[in-house]
Symmetry: C2
Subunit: 278 residues, 2 copies
């Protein structure tokens, strides 16, 4: 994979969209999340309203369940804002339309008729029923809800930190993916109550501040770039994961599963060296 990325061209990458990128600041550092308005536009809009209302600032991570999720919320609704009680319709799937990109993987999937990548996100589709949805891979970000499918507002957010819980697909609104800093969530102490909830507030688990990249001064931005998933370079990256050609491998799988394909992210500054002529 590193060999594929080393010869990538500037056009194989895209900058994050400041209007759809979140900076989540924890005491230990920053988690950067790319939002997915193509799949959950109403949830994403409400999350952006919550960010600008300061709703998340000062909340805590209340749940870290091993091999599953890290989650933050205001469980007792002690600090409501104008948008924190607004429930969104269940954006769990979207219609399969011609204008949405999809780079299909060749090796099948246990859960869905077809899987692949759409706009830099792991996705699945069912052509027969004309539906498409995001897949619960490591690092994906979803909106917690109650039993009523239309009860999610974005006030409660979880991030997948374990083996892909694909049974959640089509059951919640996935709203984005962690681009950087997931290890700050995945290495948090696990909660000791049922379902990984913390029994008491944990020191390292405060959400200090959440901001939209667009609201951060240009000089302070992360300048991340994400690999485009509809290019020859990404197809080569997939091939490099299907068949590991380094000599360590005694057996080459000749196959790859959706959540085992890394969607590369880099700092934009890194593009300069790799675009120089040798």
């Amino acid at each position: 994979m590193s060999e594929v990325l080393a010869v990538s061209k500037p056009g194989d990458w895209r900058a994050t969209d400041p209007q759809n990128t979140l900076y989540v600041d924890l005491p230990a550092g920053r988690v950067v999340i790319e939002l997915a308005p193509a799949f959950a536009p109403l949830h994403v809009e409400n999350i952006k309203r919550l960010v600008r209302e300061g709703y998340y600032d000062g909340l805590r991570i209340i749940r870290v369940q091993d091999n599953y999720v890290a989650q933050w919320a205001d469980p007792d609704n002690r600090h409501p804002t104008a948008s924190s009680g607004k429930s969104m319709p269940p954006e769990f799937e979207r219609p399969l339309t011609a204008n949405i990109p999809f780079s299909m993987l060749p090796d099948g999937d246990v859960y869905a008729p077809e899987v692949g990548f759409s706009g830099g996100l792991p996705a699945a589709r069912d052509a027969k029923h004309g539906l498409m949805w995001l897949a619960h891979c490591y690092g994906m970000v979803g909106v917690g809800r109650d039993v009523n499918p239309g009860s999610g507002s974005g006030a409660e957010i979880y991030v997948v930190i374990g083996h892909s819980p694909r049974h959640l697909d089509r059951n919640v609104a996935l709203v984005g993916r962690v681009l950087r800093g997931i290890e700050l969530l995945s290495s948090l102490p696990r909660g000791t109550a049922a379902m990984g909830f913390y029994e008491k507030p944990q020191q390292p688990a405060a959400i200090m501040k959440v901001r939209l990249e667009a609201d951060v001064a240009a000089a302070e931005r992360e300048d991340l770039e994400v690999i485009r998933t509809d290019t020859q370079t990404f197809a080569a990256l997939i091939e490099s994961r299907r068949n590991r050609w380094d000599s360590w491998f005694a057996y080459r799988a000749d196959r790859v599963e959706l959540c085992n394909v890394p969607i590369a992210v880099r700092t934009a500054a890194a593009k300069a060296p790799s675009s120089k002529a040798p």
Copy 2:
């Protein structure tokens, strides 16, 4: 799943085998590993020799790579023992024989012709070629090796702490599974050098002591029981994961992937209540 386990019978569970169970003591607590002599007998034998030689005592976890593995070793070979330099032949697959149990999952797999469970471990098989092997699910324990497939001794051990890296199947000797305490490994700080290696020794990552359960006084044993994977109860557990019947689920997958089936573990003391008549 909890409903299935609540009505399980004593015969649905088996005690751990003291001759094939390891206690790995870290400063934060104990990791219990069940060894898999049916799949990697020579590696398991050598690991047991290393345990009894005290080889692992005082080693450190040297690598924690996010969404991948935690690994311990004596990288500079500063404390060799009689068995630490003994390389084992590559026990990456085993012949498919009639006497080895296999409970097959019905929903297919991206990597293998058939997947299921064998003796409480996630496994795959290829009937056409008469082969069977263990699968790299969360919590599985493997033996690190160099480029030479026959270079693993058990002196270097890794545990899967992320999405299942199934491309490693058939490339390393999987020697067991973590029954308890994986969160002590999965929540360790990630290493900041390439491939998650620690740049300097990390305080919480010492391996204080590793013992075989058989060498621990009876009063100090964990008394764990593992669910049998060849029973009607386990089949019911699989069904409960294929179709989540609680009302939260708006969409039921009707499918389950190998590494999403939990292999339940309990303390033997827990068996008394659940075997009482209601």
